[in-house]
Symmetry: C2
Subunit: 309 residues, 2 copies
Amino acid sequence: MEAQTSCCAIYNCEICDYRADERCTGCRSGNLDLKERVGAACAVFECVISRQIHSCLECSEAGCRLKRSVEMICPLRGLFEKKRWWAGRMSRALESRRRRAANTEYDRKMSERVVNRLRWYLVALDSFEVEGYESVSSWQLAERVGVSSALIRKDLSRFGEFGTPSYGYRTAFLRDRIRAILRLDKPRGIVWVGACMLRHHASDIERLYRNNCRLLGVFDTDEGEIGQRVGNFKVEHIDRVAEVIAGAEVSAAVIAVTSPRAQQIAETLVNLGAKAILNLSGQLINLPYNVRVSSLDVAGELLELCYYC
Amino acid sequence: MEAQTSCCAIYNCEICDYRADERCTGCRSGNLDLKERVGAACAVFECVISRQIHSCLECSEAGCRLKRSVEMICPLRGLFEKKRWWAGRMSRALESRRRRAANTEYDRKMSERVVNRLRWYLVALDSFEVEGYESVSSWQLAERVGVSSALIRKDLSRFGEFGTPSYGYRTAFLRDRIRAILRLDKPRGIVWVGACMLRHHASDIERLYRNNCRLLGVFDTDEGEIGQRVGNFKVEHIDRVAEVIAGAEVSAAVIAVTSPRAQQIAETLVNLGAKAILNLSGQLINLPYNVRVSSLDVAGELLELCYYC
DNA sequence: TAGATTGTTAATCGATTAACAATC
DNA sequence: TAGATTGTTAATCGATTAACAATC
């Protein structure tokens, strides 16, 4: 177990200015209750060898995943993997804390299910408007979206009284209110990685523009794509992303590459300030808990659907 | 209210052979409790004018949405919209029944959230296997998928005991078990509509093949695409789908067209036997409750993500 | 044997539904 | 006024978590 002497973590936080300076259990006895220790104060994992600081679990700052930081701290991979009780115990102890921290990050008022439904209400309202409906009732909306009318009324009533009894909701008014709730008026900057996929989403981009989402640049890893044009953009190499974006505020990024570098690209984009990643690569991406990842995977989704056949 | 005399529905079912032959409340008093009536027997909506039969709420057969059938029955749109209490009452009364019916369709043992997670466990297991892991513990899997380890153990324990205490799960074994649970060994036939999009999903198709999903044909509405080739397929017009498929069993279909005909195409495919539709069109699709629809919408998803920025 | 990790239980948490008074 | 539909409450339902005995 002497090799694990190097697997120490010093509890320390740049933000809270707390420094426990205690060795981790990995080096000594396995009986020490890590949960207690960590609970006592904000913890940043600092590698005693490289002095690199990793995620603070309390503030959710910096933040690279625990497992990875452990691997970085302990380069003796073979030994570590044969006996990974240290990482195991640690990870289990911290799991629920991190989860809690991640949840309080976002607006407590609105669950992600509500946000998702509001988005579909908007699509339905648009279609009702096109069909010339001045007003819609909750059951009409429910019918089209595929949820219950009670849920629609409940969802909407969180944010105010938008309807009129016995009449329903004025289509245009409700549409505007939902747009405001979803903050679709605020301008956003999007980085797109994967030029090929972008070409097939021209209509999507148009819809984004209508909702104040601007594309900041198009990037790729594939040398064949670099220099090509997509719409108004020249495709740049992903390695040049910081340079090309040059200070523009990145809200979200789309990763639509086929190369297996999705994880690495995602990390680059997070460092650039992206707070949300749309992952179309079909690969799993792991990011700090304060970054939101949404994965759309056509093949996976189809396989899932087949289950119901 | 005389105009609504034509808005009658005869309760009648082709499948159960029940025919109540009673007029709907719309024509007479509004006090009749439709819920009771409908509850008494299987109901199909038959238009007294066109004699067209609409969805049976009991068997979930045929099935076009209630609202649409009402509109068809009552062509006096102006009048109907000014005073739609009939449709409102009806719809509200039936809403929860249909919902219940839809839920009992599927395997009660496994919620859709579980199915979705299993799919991601599979992706994670694949990646662990590639990295050479012989075994994984629930927290390792949890870490990579982004759920809690308790949930993973709970999910897996529904189907048997796949792990070994103090050791974890054997990667290859667990992978095979999950594949079996998701029935990925069973061959499936897929219809793809929207040639352009398919070209950008070559790698997805490959993954489908590895999981026994076979493409039956590629179709489109765009005349420019008809006759072109995609992989091994010649693109055919969607109107020829029945002819081209010719009796092959359709499990699921992908609708990836940009034209606003998504709803209509979906109905065609359901008539061909599709039990699940993957909707990439960005449009809302409404289908009978025994058909599963999953919508992936890049622009919408991205707008939703921006909310969290 | 000591320590790790599973499978499972009970407790908690959150989301959805049914129902209805208030309102138009 | 009669009837429709909202907003909201309490009840229900289901999903997730924490915890721990059983097991390796």
